[in-house]
């Protein structure tokens, strides 16, 4: 039988106790350090908050006359420390998310005056992706036009988070103009990112000269899909022919999106084209076609759906029946 010598057990227990004590000391040390850091941050934030609030609310005209904001001596002393500048930068970015108008302008001006863009640019050099992203967000939220190239260089970054953040930043702050990245992006624009960009664009004024035609012919299928969403959203029938072409695109997602887009921009004359494409379409596209046909509400479209509700695959039949039921409810209600 295997036996353990008592002194081994003693040393093992001793080691275990030492490890536990070390862990406890480390945890306490880290907690104290974190607490001290937070307290220091709160102290500095408290010291500069009054001055920041005053500066943000400064009248446009006064600021224009002065050229630069007045920084009191005591604040200048605080701002000599890099830590304080980091805290001020965080505060400015937070405020910028909440304020626009003259307050937003003052925040951008103060950012430039304190040369906080240097800190943001340094973050872009970091090897850690989340710090890089922070740098991108800071430059974009402070609308640093001169550093636009610093953001644009990341639109094709291999890291998805950095890439999408750069794309989002461009669209969030430069609206439709920011969509220029679609000309160069090699990676797929994910469904989530497309939704995000559409959401941001809805808050921006639409422009007529966005090169949607070019994006509809992009070699990147996700860019074509996104362009189709833009056409559908803006009901832009100028791209009708290009959208029809997308029905024959090798990418199935593009086909489905083209059908949905046509449902938004075309009139009932599209029924014939959709029925022609139905024959060679996959299930997803067929369901999309049935969806659009039902929306047209024409007798030709409905009789086609009725026919397919008995002859197609189970999934398509189910979709057809749902649409027929929906149509009969709507008709009865009218």
């Amino acid at each position: 039988m295997y036996t353990i010598r008592p002194q081994y057990l003693f040393y093992l227990t001793l080691c275990f106790i030492v490890v536990i004590i070390t862990l406890i000391i480390c945890t306490i040390g880290m907690t104290v350090q974190k607490k001290r850091r937070l307290l220091r941050k709160d102290k500095i934030a408290g010291q500069v908050s009054e001055w920041l609030a005053e500066t943000v609310l400064e009248d446009d005209r006064d600021a224009a006359v002065k050229g630069a904001f007045n920084i009191p001596g005591n604040i200048q002393v605080i701002l000599r420390k890099k830590k304080a500048l980091d805290i001020v930068l965080d505060e400015l970015i937070l405020l910028r998310k909440s304020f626009n108008g003259s307050a937003g302008y003052n925040l951008e001006k103060l950012y430039r005056q304190l040369q906080l863009n240097k800190l943001s640019l340094r973050k872009l050099q970091s090897r850690r992706w989340h710090i890089k992203i922070k740098g991108i967000q800071e430059l974009a939220s402070m609308k640093q036009e001169q550093h636009l190239n610093n953001i644009t260089q990341y639109i094709n970054h291999s890291n998805q988070y950095i890439r999408t953040e750069a794309q989002t930043a461009l669209v969030r702050y430069w609206g439709y103009e920011g969509l220029q990245f679609l000309d160069f992006t090699d990676y797929p624009v994910t469904e989530w990112q497309q939704l995000n960009l559409m959401h941001l664009l809805l808050q921006q004024p639409a422009i007529n000269d966005a090169p949607i035609g070019k994006w509809l012919n992009s070699s990147n299928a996700s860019v074509v899909q996104f362009a189709l969403k833009l056409v559908a959203e803006e009901r832009d029938s100028r791209h009708y022919e290009a959208v029809i072409q997308c029905l024959g695109h090798p990418n199935e997602g593009v086909n489905v999106q083209a059908v949905l887009c046509l449902g938004q921009i075309a009139d009932t004359s599209i029924i014939k084209t959709l029925i022609v494409h139905y024959k060679n379409a996959n299930e997803m596209m067929r369901i999309a076609i049935v969806n659009v046909l039902e929306k047209t509400g024409t007798s030709r479209g409905l009789s086609f759906i009725r026919k397919k509700s008995t002859t197609d695959s189970e999934v398509v039949k189910l979709a057809c029946l749902k649409h027929l039921q929906q149509h009969s409810i709507t008709t009865r209600a009218m």
């Binding site: 937070l94 998310k97 307050a103």
Partner: protein
């Protein structure tokens, strides 16, 4: 006018309070929903400006408490973030008088408060 501002972002709170004080209002600030509720219940406010997302109690909960008071009609302005349209509708259902979507200009808030001041 005695105004209660509830906002969990300290600098934002300070800036808004300063703006309204410059307009001549008496401003009480609360850093979270619970504090705001306490202040509201213990002082006679003429107006409430509240953020929606706050720790401990949301702006909507505060709004409900404000509307429970029947002896005085207290205007409530809700500060919402972009994409919170559903919450804004909910706030109107609960009796909010106005809302501002972030980002906004403090001058705009000042003007909206003035609208209620002149109506009072």
């Amino acid at each position: 006018m005695k105004i209660l501002i509830a906002e969990d972002e300290p600098l934002m709170l300070k800036t808004l309070a300063l703006r309204l004080r410059k307009d001549g209002h008496e401003v009480i600030t609360a850093a979270d929903g619970r504090q705001a509720t306490d202040y509201f219940l213990n002082a006679d406010m003429d107006m409430v400006i509240t953020d929606i997302m706050m720790p401990f109690a949301s702006g909507l909960e505060l709004l409900e408490i404000v509307r429970r008071r029947k002896d005085k009609k207290i205007p409530v302005i809700v500060l919402s973030a972009m994409g919170q349209e559903n919450v804004v509708i909910e706030a109107f259902k609960l009796g909010a008088d106005d809302y501002i979507t972030k980002p906004f200009s403090p001058v705009e808030l000042s003007m909206r408060v003035r609208r209620f001041t002149s109506a009072a």
